[in-house]
Amino acid sequence: MQIYLPIAEVSVNAFLLLGLGGIVGILSGMFGVGGGFLMTPLLFFIGIPPAVAVATEANQIVASSFSGVLAHFKRKTVDLRMGVVLLIGGLIGAALGVQVFNTLRAIGQVDLLVKLCYVVFLGIIGGLMFFESLRAILRTRRPGAVTLRRKHNWVHNLPFKMKFRTSGLYISVIPPVMVGILVGILAAIMGVGGGFVMVPAMIYLLGMPTKVVVGTSLFQIIFVTAFTTLMHATTNYTVDMMLAVLLLVGGVVGAQIGARIGVKMKAEQLRILLAIMVLAVCTKLAAELLLQPSELYNLGDVRH
């Protein structure tokens, strides 16, 4: 069944969108990532204009994250205090990101920026997570191996310390705010929730327990993507409600299923799966930048 999207002004198959929403929703629930890093490139691929894809994806992530976070609230795996600190950074970052996005769009380099961001961030994070979780899996397989104690690094020597009881941490608020800003910028530029950056940062940089990380990141993502949606809707008019509804119907159902699969799996397995997926998307995008494209030319709007 074909459906015409009023803002994107293209006609696409409704079941394709529902299916994409569902698959990405499952991943979202499992890993606590918004799924935007997969969905946004997929939307480009089915012919949705990039500006519409980025803005609409932000709206869809609100829905899937909200659905996911409710399941986590019930299990009390959300660190609200940490979430709010991350959120403050996130809102600052999103406002900055939209500025950068609009500037680069005017000079026609927004595609490059988006792809480079994907390749760099996905490459680094995917690689780090992959090797770390591989090591963790090998360690648990070897009986008698000692589990390393969480070591103190520079993060623990900064001022403005705060107690995060749910995470069992007593650290400075500066690193979480910085992580929030970075994630906010990415949310606005790449049409992602930023979970794929935030989850590893929370685990490796802030030292939060994995079980709390997923719920907390979903909590922060809801507000940052809601803010990004409003920014795009009011400045660029690029949020397609019809597209968003189709994606989120599939997405919210998927997120529920995913959250339940996630509980049954071990943290290391969860992380290595996410790492593999991140690396796959990274490789595909890197190939697009490095290999000669079949069509050298592309069309864009003239904005004066």
């Binding site: 069944m1 074909q2 459906i3 015409y4 009023p6 803002i7 002004e9 293209v10 006609s11 012919g47 709206n59 869809q60 609100v62 829905a63 899937s64 994250s65 909200f66 659905s67 996911g68 409710l70 399941a71 019930k74 026609g108 380099q109 595609d111 490059l112 480079l116 809601a226 949606t229 409003l230 795009h232 809707a233 009011t234 008019y237 949020v239 409600m241 019809m242 968003a244 509804v245 989120l248 119907v249 919210v252 159902v253 997120a255 529920q256 697009e288 930048l289 490095l290 290999l291 000669q292 494209p293 069509e295 050298l296 030319y297 592309n298 069309l299 864009g300 709007d301 003239v302």
Partner: protein, 252 residues
């Protein structure tokens, strides 16, 4: 001198309308609904004449349907620092969002270059490109790329030999409108030609408009963007919450 006069007459005479077009379209209004999946438009007509057909070559018909024109930025990628990035850009001053030409014969036979220039009938002529920056030597490649990309999407169509002409009087054709159509006032132009010269023209409008929910959403997004944004978020949160509630109900 005689040759000049002859040339003058040859140019002037066909412009005097001895034949006129009477035409109709199967639809003058295209409604873009939620399940819009492209459309087909039937164009038919007849030639009205007071005298028998002049013997200046067979009657040929060219039909051109054009969407609203807009400036377009065409960018070309080049390898810089090992990666492919947008390097050169040329602004095309006006290019129709949709353009379909249907003819009753090979273009070179049914239309002379000079009339193509005057009426802007063929696809390259329908695109207006004034000038490229001095640094770009091959500006033509950019317009060619524009045509190539839009032809692949079905937005530009050149259909030769698709207009049926019978008895030098009746003609008909159909043009396929793709699903990725944009809104606006479209024009349908019909040209009658003899020996490549345009002898009569006819123009009519086709209104392409979003209707119903499509129109409502589009207007809301542009007129009340904040309300639209908030509505999008409310829908998102409601959907997220209800999915969660439904799943909780199923499990308990």
């Amino acid at each position: 001198m005689m040759r000049l006069l002859f040339l003058f007459m040859a140019l002037y005479l066909p412009a005097k309308a001895e034949e006129a077009v009477v035409a109709g379209l199967s639809q003058n209004r295209i409604a873009i609904t939620a399940n819009f999946d492209g459309s087909e438009i039937l164009i038919f007509g007849a030639v009205r004449r007071d005298a028998p057909p002049p013997g200046t070559g067979p009657l040929e018909v060219i039909i051109a349907i054009a969407g609203p024109s807009k400036p377009i930025m065409v960018r070309r990628k080049a390898k810089r620092f090992g990666i492919w990035i947008n390097a050169d850009a040329v602004e095309v001053d006006a290019a129709p969002s949709f353009y379909a030409v249907a003819t009753s014969g090979p273009l070179n036979d049914v239309l002379k270059n000079i009339d193509d220039l005057r009426y802007r009938i063929s696809i390259p002529r329908a695109i207006r490109s004034v000038g490229a920056p001095m640094t770009i030597m091959d500006a033509r490649a950019f317009t060619e790329a524009l045509i190539r990309i839009r032809t692949e999407k079905g937005l530009y169509q050149m259909s030769l030999n698709t207009v049926e002409v019978s008895e030098e009087t009746l003609f008909n054709t159909s043009v396929t409108l793709p699903a990725n159509l944009t809104e606006g006032a479209y024009t349908a132009r019909i040209f009658l030609t003899r020996s490549g010269n345009v002898v009569a023209t006819y123009e009519t409008k086709i209104d392409v408009q979003k209707v119903g929910l499509e129109k409502w959403l589009f207007n809301l997004a542009h007129e009340l963007p904040l309300a639209y944004g908030i509505l999008s978020l409310v829908i998102a949160i409601a959907a997220g919450w209800s999915a969660s509630a439904v799943f909780r109900y199923i499990r308990s």
